[in-house]
Amino acid sequence: AQSVAQPEDQVNVAEGNPLTVKCTYSVSGNPYLFWYVQYPNRGLQFLLKYITGDNLVKGSYGFEAEFNKSQTSFHLKKPSALVSDSALYFCAVRPRGSASKIIFGSGTRLSIRP
C-alpha cells in the first residue's frame, strides 16, 4: 500500500538552531513530493515541492528539503529556526500517473523555543 511516514509526532528546537523534520514514503515509481505547513485554525500552506532535477529544493520562508531516492526520504530542513516556524508540518506525495490523489503523512508538530 502507498503510504507516507513522518516518524516524529513532535520536534523541539531552540531558536537559531537548525531543524529537520523527517519524511519517508512508500510509493511505486518516482512520485512528486510536497511539504505543507498548517497554523492553528488555518488551512494548509504550500512550502515546496520536488518534481525532478536537483535533490535539494528551496521553498518559502527559508525552508528547503532534500530528496534521497535510495532512502525514499524527503526531509524538511531550515538552517536557523524562528519561533514563528512553530506549526504542524505535513509531508505529501502524489504518485506519477495520478492527477488527483495526494497522500499525506500524519504530521509533525514543530515547536521552536525562544
Binding site: G43, L44, I51, F90, P95, A99, K101, G107
Partner: protein
C-alpha cells in the same frame, strides 16, 4: 488575488442530518479537490473535480458526493451524518491537473470548514 475560500467556517449538525460545504477556487484554477482532516491526522483525499467532471475519488462511502459548477466553484455534500464525520474539511484548487497523467500542479488549500456532528 484572493485565495481559496470556503463556507461556512464552522458547522454543527446532529446525526442523520445532511450538510453542504462550499468552495471557491483561486481565480483561473479549474480543478477542485476535497479532503477530510480528522483531528490528529493528515488530510485524506475525498474527491477531485476538473471541468465539472469527477476525476478522482478516495475511499469514502456513497454518503459523500460533490459537484463542480460552471464557474469552477464546488460543493461537497454528506448525507446521513455520523459522529465519525466530525472533521475539518479542506478544499484545494489547482490550475490543470491533466487528468490521467502525472501532474506537477500544486494544490492550494482553503482555510477549511470545521464540521461537528453531535
Amino acid at each position: 488575488d484572493a485565495g481559496v475560500t470556503q463556507s461556512p467556517t464552522h458547522l454543527i449538525k446532529t446525526r442523520g442530518q445532511q450538510v453542504t460545504l462550499r468552495c471557491s477556487p483561486i481565480s483561473g484554477h479549474k480543478s477542485v479537490s476535497w479532503y477530510q482532516q480528522v483531528l490528529g491526522q493528515g488530510p485524506q483525499f475525498i474527491f477531485q473535480y476538473y471541468e465539472k467532471e469527477e476525476r478522482g475519488r478516495g475511499n469514502f462511502p456513497d454518503r459523500f458526493s460533490a459537484r463542480q459548477f460552471p464557474n469552477y466553484s464546488s460543493e461537497l455534500n454528506v448525507n446521513a451524518l455520523l459522529l465519525g464525520d466530525s472533521a475539518l474539511y479542506l478544499c484545494a484548487s489547482s490550475l490543470n491537473p491533466a487528468a490521467g497523467q502525472g501532474s506537477t500542479d500544486t494544490q492550494y488549500f482553503g482555510p477549511g470548514t470545521r464540521l461537528t456532528v453531535l
